[in-house]
């Protein structure tokens, strides 16, 4: 028998708590408390100029509801999220198949494919700002020289094309993330299932739609929800690309909360707007959990 006395460093139950506690306290202090604070602000008249707290009940919410811009940004958020999510998943699945394939120069291709996601979003969006410029846009130059358009499309100046641009840039930037998530799922599919289907004479498309996609459905769902949550709460693309314009055509809830709460200084109204992100976010999280559970049950 060991003569060494079992010290505190050996008691699993004690150790488990001591090792976990710093993280839990930190997260409670800087995520939990700010969240409660955000709820409290939504019912207050706090502004950046006058930070004293006065309870105003649902005053902020009535003010926010009376503002057409709020409804516009809510609709924009849903449109932005819905369209981006579908595109992200479709392209993400295609890229994932490419990422697991074997070919020469794979390293370089992977590097180039990951660029949109690993680059700080504010910087890559700046590149797009010039790509979609009203006069010098390389996109328009190409289209002009292909003879597809006579005059430049003013991408960011028209409400419809501005929204389209924001959606496409967001899709471009999040697709690599979805691809990596789906790739993780594809790697986990046992190769012999695919081999068996191949021996049975199933072609590429048949194997794709009847074997691979059904088996990786949970992980595709996870990728879709990640894309949705990150798009739903994102303001960077529309902030850098259009500042929410032209006339709020690309304002989303997050950017509108920023303009109201930080640039407009009305913390109460900003918090009330941001709070609308929460119920939909919660639904998304529950959906992710269920998808993950199905993944584990497999």
């Amino acid at each position: 028998m060991s003569a060494r006395r079992a010290g505190l460093a050996d008691r699993d139950g004690f150790l488990a708590w001591v090792m976990l506690l710093p993280s839990v306290i930190y997260i409670l202090a800087l995520v939990g408390v700010p969240f409660l604070l955000a709820v409290a602000f939504a019912f207050s008249d706090v502004t950046t100029g006058d930070p004293s707290y006065d309870f105003v009940g649902f005053g902020n919410f009535t003010a926010v509801f009376d503002d057409g811009v709020f409804w516009r940004s809510l609709w924009n958020t849903l449109l932005f999220t819905g369209c981006s999510m579908v595109l992200i998943v479709v392209f993400g699945k295609i890229l994932a198949n490419l990422l697991i394939a074997d070919f020469h120069g794979k390293w370089l291709v992977r590097f180039l494919i990951l660029l949109p996601w690993t680059t700080p979003v504010a910087l890559s969006t700046i590149s797009w700002l010039w790509f979609l410029d009203s006069i010098y846009s390389p996109v328009d130059w190409t289209l002009r020289h292909l003879g597809l358009i006579d005059q430049n499309v003013v991408w960011l100046g028209d409400p419809n094309t501005a929204m389209l641009s924001v959606i496409l840039v967001q899709t471009w930037r999040l697709t690599p993330l979805a691809a990596v998530i789906v790739m993780a799922g594809l790697v986990a599919i046992p190769r012999d299932i695919d081999e068996a289907a191949r021996i049975d004479g199933a072609g590429f498309w048949r194997r794709m739609f009847e074997v691979t996609i059904p088996l990786s459905l949970p992980v595709i769902a996870v990728a879709a929800l990640f894309g949705a949550i990150m798009t739903f709460t994102d303001m960077t693309v529309s902030y850098v690309l259009t500042r929410g314009g032209p006339t709020h055509a690309t304002d989303v809830l997050a950017s509108w909360a920023y303009f109201r709460g930080i640039e407009g200084g009305d913390v109460g109204q900003g918090a009330a707007i941001a709070l609308f992100l929460f119920p939909i976010l919660l639904a998304g999280v529950v959906a992710i959990l269920r998808a993950v559970r199905r993944l584990e049950a497999r």
């Binding site: 993280s23 590149s127 010098y136 993780a184 941001a274």
Partner: protein, 289 residues
Amino acid sequence: MTNEALRRRYARRHVAARCGLYAAAVLSALVCALPFLWSLVSAFKQNRDLYDPESNPFAFNEPATPDHVTFLFADTPFPTFVLNTLLVGGAVVLLTLALALPAAYSLARLNRPWGTPMGIAIFLVYLVPPSLLFLSLTRVVVALGLEDSLWSMIVVYPTITVPVSVWLLIGFLKAVPTDIEEQAMVDGHSRLGAFVRAVLPLVFPGLVAVVVFSFTLTASEFVYALAFVSSSPEMVVSTGVPTQLIRGDVFFWQSLQAATVVTAVPIAFLFNLFLDRFVTGFTMGAVKT
């Protein structure tokens, strides 16, 4: 059909599949990287080349010039932004490891009944978006007297990096056989000693992956950095470049493009080195032991 004909048919089909694969690879790489390739070209363009709607945007119509890149490094605060990003990133990575490593060990190895649900709960914190918290966190930062300081980001960013890192580390720790600790404990180490001496060296590759991942997340963050810091000398790359390299309506386009490429390439390079490890970490985290 003879064997020979069959063989040739399969060979033909194989060649076709390879061609399709390479075509798809080249096309996807182009779509993803085109803005960056184009940034690289325009960073070296002369003004009268760039500001001519008729000149080919993908080629040099006038001789290339390094002036705008030199300008970026010599006459703009860009070097300061890079230094700040490295400082914030380094500090956040250290804080993250200090918090996440013990937490992950506790959740992966010490067999508490609440291990798995707690791990999932911590991971879900990652999905709480900055756009929901930035208003109240800005008030917290002001109350702590950290506004317009790098410290504001160092203190707050681990809220983003800790949850992901805990999840990744749980995955890496589960991959280490329990025998290793048991052997170390038989050899006279305490549980904690076994973790430090026997397990840590084995998860070192995983630790490096977590460091890279946390740093990438930190460098990309935008909303908090924008809300907390408004003075140029304390800005990081992700906020400094879009807000400070534009004077009024004047964009320093070539310098902006150079800044994008200079930032994008090293991060993507590092990330690519560790991609396979991230994938393993994420999937292992969900596996029950």
